[in-house]
Each structure stands twice: as C-alpha cells, then as structure tokens.
C-alpha cells in the first residue's frame, strides 16, 4: 500500500502527475490516494521531492492517506 506522510508533504502534486491510474488527488493541503485504483507501481514514491510517499506492507483498500 502506498501512503502519504502529511508531515513531510509539501502538496506539490508531482505524485498526481506521474500516477498512471489517476489514483491520486491533491486537495488543498492534502493528498488522497484511491487504493482501489492504485497498482503500487511506486512512481509517486520516486518522484516525491521530500520522501513523503512510501510503500508499506499491507493492503489498504478504501483507506485514505494520512489517516
């Protein structure tokens, strides 16, 4: 599962742009990940300028990032 760390995140939206499945949304100061769509390709992890995206163990279907 890909998760976003809101304490590191600078809300730049880079992860949204590289997501092949349009599974990420940048709200004003919040990243939302649609785990139903996410294929865990880690593109967002690689592009993140501040290491705020991380791949962790477990399936989080339906779970919201930062919660």
């Amino acid at each position: 599962m890909i998760v976003n760390d809101p304490k590191k995140c600078c809300y730049c939206g880079g992860c949204v742009g590289v997501c092949p499945k349009a599974a990420i949304t940048l709200k004003e100061t919040r990243i939302e990940i649609d785990h139903e769509k996410c294929i865990e390709c880690s593109s967002c992890v690689l592009i993140c300028p501040v290491d705020a995206m991380k791949k962790v163990d477990g399936k989080g279907k339906g779970a919201k990032a930062g919660e």
Partner: protein
C-alpha cells in the same frame, strides 16, 4: 442552477490567467477556477524570466515584482570551474512571482474575466454539446456550464483526464524539484543565475541559485525522476557545504515536479484544450516554463475565440492550436529535448572536459544545438571519443 460561460479555464497560474485575459479581451465570457485560496502561491518555480520573454509577450517589467536584474549565467562544473555567460539571451529578471501572478489576475479581471479561488473542480463531463464542471466551494457542490474547458491545472492536472485525454507523464520525462528561498546569504554573483552540474550535486539535472537580491536567492534542484535520494536531500547537502549559504535562513520551502519532456502531440479534444504544465510545456533543458506557457495561453485563446465565434468547439476546430504552438515553440523545444538527453548522459569528467575545451560562447551554442558546433566538437574532443560521441549524437 448552473452558471453559463463560453469557457471555463481550470487553474489560475500564469497559463490559465494569461489565457483568461486574452479570451476576455476578445469578448469571450470566461471563468477561471483556482482550487487554492490565493492566486500566486505556492510558488513552485525558480522565478527567472528571460528578457526575450518580456519582448515576446509584450510585458513591461515592473520593479514591484521584477525584483532582481540578471545579466547572464554562471555554469559550474563538479570540480568548481566556472563558465560565465553574459549575453542578452541569458539576461532577464528574477521575479517575485506571487506578485507577478496577482498582477496577471488583476489584468485578466479588468479585461472582463471572472476569477474564483478556493474552488477545486472535482468532476467534468460533456453535456448537451458543452461541458459541465462540478466544483466544490466551501463544501457545497456548484456546477458551471460552458462550451469548452481549457485545462491549465498544472502537473497534477486531472481535468483533461476527466474528459478522456491522457496527460500522465512518465518518470523519465519529469524532474523532481525542491527549493528554498533563502535570505541572509552571501554568494559570488548576485547578478547572474548560477547553475551547478554534476552527478553528486544533481544527478540528471542541475542545482540552481537564482538571486532575488544581494543576500537573497532561490536555491533549488531538479533531478531525474528515477533518483535514489530525494530532491530535498540534494539541496540540503549543497547548502550545508556552501560557506555563503550554510548560515543563511530558509524563508520559503517549495517542492514540485517539472515536466521536462513528453510533449503532448495533441493538446485538444472536443470541448477541451490543454495548456501549461498540464500539457508539459516546459523547456527541457532549464525546466523553465513561465514564458512558454503564457505564450501558449495566448495562442490557445486566439484559436478558442475563433472557434467559439464559428460555434464549433470540436477537436477539429480547436486543433490549429497544436500546429501554431509547435510551429512557434514546440518544435524548438523538441530540439532542446535532444540536448537534455546529452546533458543526462554526461559524467562528472565530461563536464570538466567540456569546460576545458569550449569557451562560454561555444557552450551556449552547444546547448542551442548550433550545427556549427559539430566540426568543433569533432576537432577538440579527439582525446575524449566517448564524450564526442555523446555530443554529436544529440546535436
């Protein structure tokens, strides 16, 4: 009940604001929706704008936002050799971009465009020959009907994708960027932008220092999207190791992804145009896009205004935007994409050898893809055949 406009522009950055202004000037009713609560922030940009762009776009530098005059660039090799370029082409201003964008917004509003902030578009769909944009304003769902949408919603563009156009960018075509605006610093050339190259400093990219005054600068990095360490870590390491910077203060933190390749061949669909970062309209070498996207916005606005007048906003009617933009800018940028690939292949030794064998004028010609450089490269790099091969391949 939904409000009606000719055009809904999604995104209130330089691309969206310039497009809105140009549309309004041509009598088109236009609504510009910005999802954040303030125009101009956050500034995901090094804030440099070349003199050429002021001329091309007919913008007069205003001292309120054109805060520092730049007379050229200093290119630094990994070992610290400096190549200084002082030419009109490398001159310009470092902006206080949030103020610049506010002026753009004021101009657009004065021209008759309507701008609304804190209004994210959460859905868009074609309906009755037009497009319905669904927004969320203070938790309330509000819908706007228009004949067409212009997506200027940045690297995180979702609106074009909502309308069926794939604007996703591959990791090889995007840089990971991070920047501090620093104050209380001392550095060598407050009237030059400084670019630092090398695989330790900025793998597959460069680190920049764009002065905003004698003791203030944007210090940032753009590195390949397939990196091992975060962009932030490279800036932190550089600042910590640089005597003039390490005691300074970081007064703004910015991050961003920079689309440095992967131009969209087709930037239109029925009822839709895409401009700016959303269309990956960025210079592949230096990663700057402000001027490029404002120019694209003006082109898109002209095509859209014509199409609206004729009552046809089909893909075919909007497609002249593709040709006009590529003719004016896109084809040149595609050429520069080749030199970006050259830059990406450079080892640290290559940078030193280039600095040792070419003068500043020749380095600029190399970056511009000047074909006269082929013979020079062939002559001067006989001792470095591998480097010569890389250079000739991408010239």
């Amino acid at each position: 009940m939904a409000d009606n406009y000719d055009v809904v522009v999604v995104g209130g950055g330089p691309a969206g604001l310039m497009t809105s202004k140009k549309l309004a000037e041509q009598g088109v009713s236009v609504l510009c929706l910005e999802k954040l609560q303030e125009i101009g922030v956050p500034v995901r940009c090094a804030e440099g704008l070349g003199l050429n762009w002021f001329k091309r776009l007919g913008i007069k530098p205003n001292k309120q936002w054109a805060v520092n005059d730049i007379f050229g660039a200093a290119l630094w090799t990994p070992k610290g050799k400096k190549i200084e370029v002082r030419t009109p082409d490398a001159s310009g201003f470092v902006l206080e971009r949030r103020l610049f964008e506010k002026e753009l917004a004021r101009d657009a509003a004065k021209a008759g465009a309507k701008i609304i902030v804190k209004t994210p578009v959460i859905a868009a769909e074609r309906k009755n020959g037009g497009v319905e944009a669904t927004t969320e304003e203070y938790g309330e769902i509000v819908k706007y009907n228009s004949k067409m949408i212009i997506a200027a919603d940045g690297i995180e563009s979702r609106v074009a994708r909502m309308l069926g156009m794939e604007t996703k960018i591959g990791l090889n075509d995007v840089d990971s960027g991070f920047q501090y605006e620093m104050a209380g610093i001392d550095f060598d050339d407050p009237d030059l932008i400084s670019l630092f190259f090398g695989n330790k400093v900025a793998p597959r990219g460069y680190l920049w220092c764009f002065p905003k005054g004698k003791h203030e600068a944007n210090v940032g990095v753009g590195i390949g999207g397939t990196r091992k360490e975060s962009a932030k870590s490279y800036v932190d390491k550089f600042v910590a190791a640089h005597p003039g910077l390490k005691n300074g203060s970081k007064i703004i933190v910015n991050a961003g992804a920079i689309p440095v390749g992967g131009f969209l061949d087709n930037m239109v669909a029925d009822n839709l145009m895409v401009i700016g970062d959303a269309a990956h309209q960025v210079d592949p070498i230096h990663g700057g896009g402000m001027g490029i996207v404002m120019e694209a916005g003006a082109i898109a606005a002209e095509v859209a205004a014509g199409a609206l007048k004729r009552g046809d906003v089909s893909e075919k009617a909007l497609s002249p935007y593709n040709g006009l933009w590529y003719e004016k800018r896109g084809n040149k940028l595609k050429g520069r994409l080749k030199r970006r690939l050259m830059l990406e292949e450079m080892t640290d030794d290559d940078f030193e050898n280039i600095a040792a064998n070419l003068n500043s004028e020749e380095v600029m010609k190399l970056a511009e893809g000047d074909l006269s450089m082929k013979a020079k490269v062939g002559l001067r790099f006989v001792k470095h055949p591998e480097l010569m091969r890389k250079m000739l391949k991408h010239l």
